[in-house]
């Protein structure tokens, strides 16, 4: 199994968030307080820009994007959120989301089926919003109150595929799972149906009304709390498609090494995620110390139940695979080898000459601003090569490999092992993990 860069595109500003719809046809990219929405007719075609929204609704940086069908949710550092829906005329209409957040919103996630919307804030507050058709807005319900004095900024949220609970990770390294009994139903399935198939039916929204889940408790009940990596900052959390395994990424804060914690066996025999299953599985969590030149992961994405992709401060995503006997292991090469100097050096390349004047020295460390929006991207050869859009302002130093020059902010999954990554360097890269069915 290997990781291959398929195509790349460079935009004219740092990308703060991006998301791809479930069918892979709609792409949303956020740069500061503006969101660009792109569309394509089929996965084999390139995306074309169709709309630019956001400056009137968001006064500060857009920090999170999420798709549910053709609805787009965005949240911003101005503590607001908006749900964008496409009108029959093709325009994108904003819908008010009442968040009741006092501080900046950092992440937004749709519940399976699009029935609810979860927001996490920098003061530790978590809000779940439901649609109020009478007032034509999204009404909030506080799941966890914020405390500005604590360092528990909610860095990431993840809904269980059944919508029964919501996991959140905070900057103080804590993982919390709250019960969120959702209106999306468990369908009647034949015995012996795999967990993955049941999860897919959840996401499709089919089935009968939910029977009351007495094992989970009322809305907001704290089912499980733990600190997977003491001393580190928890950055991302993700459930696998079946809901039986959860991954938590911790960064290298507090002197702790970057780690990935995987908690498996979260489903009971009946296919439900219960508090008892969580507590028992938490005692059997597997912790991976990331090897290679990895500085920590800030985004996680399950491609399948057995393949997990993580990305963070290292410019190249990492792939993790679950073996046949259960344990997870880091897969794929960590990318172009770095020398002791930290910069990437192709074999045999000479050290570039040091610029003479002060102005030249300052300019060599600035990103070229004269870049154009090139969403068409270009195909990169199998051997990699220079990243797209290297402008005339960059020094003629050693060429960087097919990866981001800065922090990777977000990942978005596509079909059949493909996914996109967007970084602070303004690059949007399309990757393919070979060997994924």
């Amino acid at each position: 199994m290997s990781l291959r860069l398929v195509s790349s595109a460079r935009l004219d500003a740092s990308i703060s968030a991006h998301a791809v719809s479930g069918d892979g046809k709609l792409l949303a990219v956020a740069r500061e307080n503006e969101i660009s929405i792109l569309d394509r007719a089929s996965p084999s075609q390139n995306w074309t820009p169709v709309a630019r929204v956001g400056p009137c609704q968001h006064s500060q940086r857009v920090s999170g994007l999420a798709w549910s069908g053709s609805q787009l949710a965005s949240c911003s550092h101005d503590s607001g959120a908006v749900v964008w829906t496409r009108t029959p005329q093709g325009a994108w209409s904003p819908n008010l989301v009442v968040t009741r957040l006092a501080r900046a919103a950092l992440c937004v996630r749709w519940a399976p089926g699009g029935a609810a919307l979860a927001l996490g804030a920098v003061d530790g507050a978590v809000v779940v919003c439901h649609r109020d058709e009478e007032r034509s807005l999204w009404a909030p319900r506080m799941l966890q109150r914020g405390d500005p004095q604590s360092a528990a900024a909610v860095q990431d949220l993840a809904w269980h595929p059944a919508g029964s609970c919501l996991a959140s990770v905070a900057a103080d390294g804590s993982l919390r799972i709250h019960a969120t009994p959702c209106r999306v139903a468990l369908p009647e399935m034949e015995t012996g149906t795999s967990a993955a198939t049941r999860a897919q039916h959840h996401l499709a929204g089919a089935g009968a009304p939910t029977p009351p889940s007495t094992t989970l408790g009322a809305f907001g009940t704290l089912l499980y709390t733990a600190t997977p990596s003491p001393g580190a900052w928890a950055m991302s959390v993700a459930w696998d498609p079946s809901g039986s395994c959860m991954a938590v990424a911790s960064s290298c804060g507090g002197g702790a090494p970057p780690r990935l914690t995987l908690i498996a066996g979260l489903l009971t025999g009946g296919g439900a995620c219960t508090a008892e299953a969580l507590r028992e599985a938490g005692t059997r969590a597997q912790t991976l110390d990331l090897r290679g030149p990895c500085l920590g992961l800030t985004s996680l994405l399950f491609l399948t139940e057995d393949v997990l992709v993580g990305a963070g401060f290292h410019g190249r995503p990492l792939v993790f695979r679950r073996g046949a006997d259960g344990p997870w292991a880091q897969d794929c090469d960590p990318g172009p080898q770095e020398d002791a100097g930290g910069a990437q050096q192709p074999a045999g390349s000479p050290t570039p000459a040091r610029p003479a004047t002060l102005a030249q020295r300052i300019r060599m460390f600035e990103v070229d601003e004269n870049r154009s929006l090139n969403v068409q991207g270009r195909r990169v050869g199998a051997g990699g090569g220079k990243a797209a859009g290297v402008g005339p302002g960059r020094p003629s130093g050693p060429a960087r490999g097919p990866e981001h020059a800065s922090h990777i902010g977000s990942l978005a999954g596509l079909a059949q092992g493909a996914f996109t990554s967007a970084g602070a360097d303004g690059q949007l890269l399309l990757w393919q993990v070979t060997g994924v069915r």
């Binding site: 501080r103 900057a171 960064s251 804060g253 507090g254 002791a340 100097g341 930290g342 460390f365 922090h407």
Partner: protein, 178 residues
């Protein structure tokens, strides 16, 4: 271990520490709505979002302090000076940088106590500056600063000698003319 080997080890350790310190995320202020302040400056040591500082020293005079928080980092450098002339040259050179801190962006106007210069790097800087190249900049600055100080000292002595020779030659001419 030779002096060049210890210097190489010191620079490698500094590079590794700076590389980890440049892992920054965007983190708005949880205290004031709409604000985005460097946590390393606002919060005190021991805060949950501030990592333990890393101190690297090479001898009694030369050292580096790397302080890392979730959205900002401080890198403080202290340089070795063999005599008062070198100390004066170092102070003059770094004051030149600190007076232009707004233009340079990453230089802190006032260095941390016990250090000659401090760089304050926030997540906003990393949206326009590549972390890898920024690390190269700082390590290159650290590596070459001593050489530039010695070159300035040599130039100062040369100019002093020329000035003294010129004055002494004028004095001798005046005496010969008497």
């Amino acid at each position: 271990m030779t002096a060049s080997a210890t210097r190489g080890t010191y620079l490698a350790e500094v590079r590794q520490a700076i590389t980890q310190a440049l892992c920054l995320m965007d983190y708005p202020s949880p205290h004031v709505e709409g604000h985005n302040k460097p946590v390393i400056e606002v919060e005190g040591p021991g805060h949950a979002l501030i990592a333990a500082p890393i101190v690297l020293t090479r001898g009694a005079q030369e050292g580096c302090l790397v302080e890392h928080s979730i959205n900002s980092s401080r890198i403080s450098l202290r340089f070795k000076a063999q005599d008062e002339v070198e100390r004066c040259i170092i102070d003059t050179h770094l004051k030149f940088l600190m007076h232009r801190a707004e233009d340079l962006g990453i230089v802190r106007k006032i260095p941390m106590a016990g250090y000659d210069v401090t760089f304050l790097i926030t997540h906003a800087h990393l949206t326009t500056l590549s972390p890898g190249l920024l690390c190269d900049l700082l390590v290159t600055f650290l590596e070459n600063f001593g050489t530039e100080v010695k070159a300035s000292k040599l130039m100062l002595k040369t100019r002093s000698r020329i000035a003294v020779d010129g004055f002494w030659g004028t004095t001798q001419d005046l005496q010969a003319g008497d």
